[in-house]
Symmetry: C2
Subunit: 172 residues, 2 copies
DNA sequence: CCGCGAAATGATACATTGTATCAATCAGGG
DNA sequence: CCCTGATTGATACAATGTATCATTTCGCGG
């Protein structure tokens, strides 16, 4: 979780670099399929990247309107749908929001782990869950083409914080 | 899947009996927690039971209005929320709809298998999926209290129908 | 370079889904 | 009976998502 970037202490430099590369990668995937990368679509991607987490369509809309006053819901949804089709964005059904895909090259059925405290979302491609789902389908005669797996709870750091606060309480 | 009831050939008799028992069971669970079983709540439960599958809140509303002209969205959602809290109804995020729980006594994290052809929804309590999810959480430090697992695809009968239609096509 | 056709956008209106609020009513215990 | 909390009614509204159609842009073949 903490590598060489810890020396930068929340500075934006290396993240910015990584973000630029992420953008490049997503855009090239898109172009290679003969689809256009437009200003609007890039704006949606950048907003999600900048957020570093999930945003609802209308939160996204607000941010786009800072730069482009005549963004519309339809436009935002079109861009989101576009990137979802490309596998670059996922929709979180639990929170009606959207988030950048962290594994855009791997089209496996994935899982989204959501911390209700800090809002963090971790995307995984767990073989165990995927294959258990597949086996379950086989047993019951189903063939799935869409896996919606969203696990909501509390992440490690937030649990630790919670326990600390609790202890605090007892001492007071 | 097919037991003694096949001799009735889609007659309503035994289902009606089973439904009555299901209602009783759900209502008693509810009463045992000191909550009231009211006309409105019972109506919602009965509509879902009669449907034998998923309904959106507004589809439900239409049906309730047949009997009670002044049902409102708020009322429907209140009843749904009530039964969801009791574990008797699940929300399908994939389709924004609601369905009776088939295992109201088992509070395990469950899965919903959805056939996109016929709309059938099968609810399971698969240990394999649940424990894979749990292990995944452990590996990443998460403790989950909400499992949203909806697997969408095509069920066995519908696949068979699909293949038959395809063959038909080739012969034409 | 031009112009064609597909892709994408703009603009508007609308559809669907879900909530907030607050007064009125109901159900059961003391 | 009256008190209290649960429930409903009624209304308005908030949040989320789509349909439509005219217009613009883009990439490409000529």
């Amino acid at each position: 979780m903490n590598g060489p970037e810890s020396m930068y202490k929340a500075s934006q430099r290396p993240e910015a670099e990584a973000q630029r590369r992420t953008l490049e990668r997503l855009e090239s995937v898109c172009r290679s399929r003969g689809r256009r990368v437009t200003r609007q679509r890039r704006a949606v991607l950048r907003a999600l990247l900048a957020q570093g987490g999930a945003l609802t369509a209308y939160e996204l809309l607000e941010r786009l309107r800072v730069e482009d006053g005549h963004s519309t819901p339809a436009g935002v949804y079109r861009a989101l749908e576009f990137w979802m089709a490309a596998g670059a964005v996922h929709r979180l059904q639990s929170t009606r929001s959207f988030i950048l895909c962290e594994h855009p090259e791997a089209p496996h059925p994935g899982q989204l782990l959501i911390c209700r405290e800090c809002g963090q979302v971790v995307e995984t491609q767990d073989k165990g869950v995927a294959s258990a789902a597949h086996r379950l389908g086989e047993r019951l005669g189903f063939v799935f083409d869409r896996h919606l797996v969203e696990l909501t709870g509390v992440c490690g750091p937030c649990r630790a914080r919670g326990r600390a606060a609790e202890a605090e309480c007892r001492h007071a």
